[in-house]
Symmetry: C2
Subunit: 320 residues, 2 copies
């Protein structure tokens, strides 16, 4: 971190989007991992990006998700001002837990702090979506919204402007597994059928209604029954080795349910308590060891807050 004059540091959380039946509309923030972004204002207009990680992401602002979001936001700022941003990503791009959303959301939350918090949360979602467009070709908000609001969020609609509904969910443990393959969001979107049988669509929106009700009523059994996706999962799960084994085994181990995180390849399972979440992790271990596929797994929780800003320089890496 090389800025000296009043920088801010943002911890931007990983997020799970496309929560089973809630394709494109439901997402939640994870307590870990998080990206760390440092930003400061400059007199020179424009955006200057430095990456302090090894993912080889572009630093040209218009091609960088944080850059595209910052450029969109700066266009709404009357002052002649620019921003320097240094990004240390720990959320691997293409893993399916909102890596691009963390960069975009962290960037706009950081710039907003530098500008005296003049923008509302819906406005921050709006600007961050320009970053998602760079990453996936679609201006979707279901990772962005929980990265900014925290917790579980419903994105009722994105047009004419993002309509984000925070949902007061009960405690949930999340077991995540990343099989070490890469799926690009744009590719995962391309294989979707563009027409859905009405019968399946009805089943899906019944489940979305049930999941929202289950979360708000803290009804774990209803949450579990509603975690069913008859539209997207049958198509996308074929891209992910071990999917059915993890899903079925996790249910047997006591998980409420789960599915593909974002567009994959990460999978997530929700559990009511930590012991179950650990049992689910053992199912994941067994599955990917049997398949001789490299993988990475962990147990975490839903993070109640989104991007967190501090104006102190961060402590050493052990505190993150």
């Amino acid at each position: 971190m090389r800025f000296s004059s009043h920088p801010v540091t943002v911890l931007a959380p990983a997020t799970v989007a496309n929560v089973v039946c809630g394709f494109d509309v439901l997402g939640f923030a994870l307590a870990e991992p998080a990206d760390e972004l440092q930003l400061r204002l400059t007199e020179q207009p424009g955006v200057v990006i430095t990456h302090e990680d090894d993912f080889g992401l572009p630093t040209e602002p218009a091609r960088n998700v944080a850059g595209a979001a910052l450029l969109a936001m700066l266009r709404a700022v009357p002052e002649e001002v620019g921003v320097e941003i240094s990004i240390r990503k720990t959320i691997r791009p293409g893993s399916g837990i909102g890596s691009s959303a963390a960069s975009a959301a962290g960037a706009v939350v950081g710039l907003n702090a530098l500008l005296g918090n003049r923008f509302s949360q819906p406005e921050l979602v709006h600007y961050a979506m320009y970053g998602e467009e760079v990453a996936s070709g679609a201006r979707h908000a279901d990772n962005i919204a929980p990265a900014i609001y925290g917790g579980v969020t419903l994105i009722r609609a994105t047009l004419p402007s993002p309509d984000v509904v925070p949902l007061d969910a009960p405690p949930l443990f999340v077991t995540v597994v990343h099989p070490q393959i890469e799926i690009k969001t744009a590719d995962a979107r391309r294989i979707l059928r563009q027409e859905v049988p009405l019968r399946d669509a009805i089943r899906q929106w019944g489940n979305v209604g049930g999941l929202v009700a289950g979360l708000l009523q803290h009804d774990y059994a209803l949450i579990g029954r509603s975690l069913e996706d008859v539209v997207v999962e049958p198509v996308r799960s074929i891209l992910i080795p071990g999917f059915a084994e993890v899903k079925d085994g996790s249910r047997v181990a006591g998980a409420l349910g789960g599915g593909i995180s974002g567009s994959g390849p990460a999978l997530f399972m929700l559990s009511q308590d930590e012991a179950t979440a650990r049992a689910v992790e053992n199912v994941m271990h067994a599955t990917y060891q049997r398949l001789s596929l490299d993988y990475h797994t962990y147990v975490t929780t839903i993070h109640p807050t989104g991007c967190q800003v501090s104006s102190e320089a961060p402590a050493g890496p052990e505190s993150r």
Copy 2:
């Protein structure tokens, strides 16, 4: 009413199903009108139906919605027993406010009372759906469930068994208008497209999530924003003269929103207070007077309870 030995009387409420975005999954009970059913057990197995109204409905049990529901329920009863039922409908068949559901729900609730309330509410929904199948060819539950549970209900799924989620909604006033034309449920289902663009399906389930959240959080503004149907209304509304004028005018008058009740032709609009609901009624008056179409309109509320059973003979018609 001609039974003497311990009959029960059931008031079975009208209901609104297909609540805008919640096609096939959301419904609510109306405080009025209601059908009146009187039932008593007989030693002679089978179902005997009398209609004390002028709608010319079939009295052959297998072809009558109440009869089909009762026959399905009796098959689950070990005792050799039959039922006589006398039905006085005030909910006009084919009007779109759950006339068949009232008959079927009222019948199974009445028989259950005669049998010592041995069946659960989900089981009652299951049996009443046999009646809906006679009426419309589809075993749907979005009128049946609110007729039995009262209030607003989500039917998350009907298979493998009905999963009904009662939603604790805030006070809502309902303005209903019946243009005097008849639309058969089976016909209204036939004109639906059997495939939905994925983009529209996503918009719809975002709205279903928003509507459920708005109801549970008592957030009237969110309810209003979520009352949008991009899948069914664009097709079915062409069957109903004056639809756009009523809908747009009601919004201008302050309604939260609304749409086609069931498969029409009745339309309903939801309002936060009675004065607005009355202003909406004036919009309906103006629309159908201009179109020189016979119509019938009224303002009511969402009924908190479903079918109500009494074992007293009912008082005169003025009490209904």
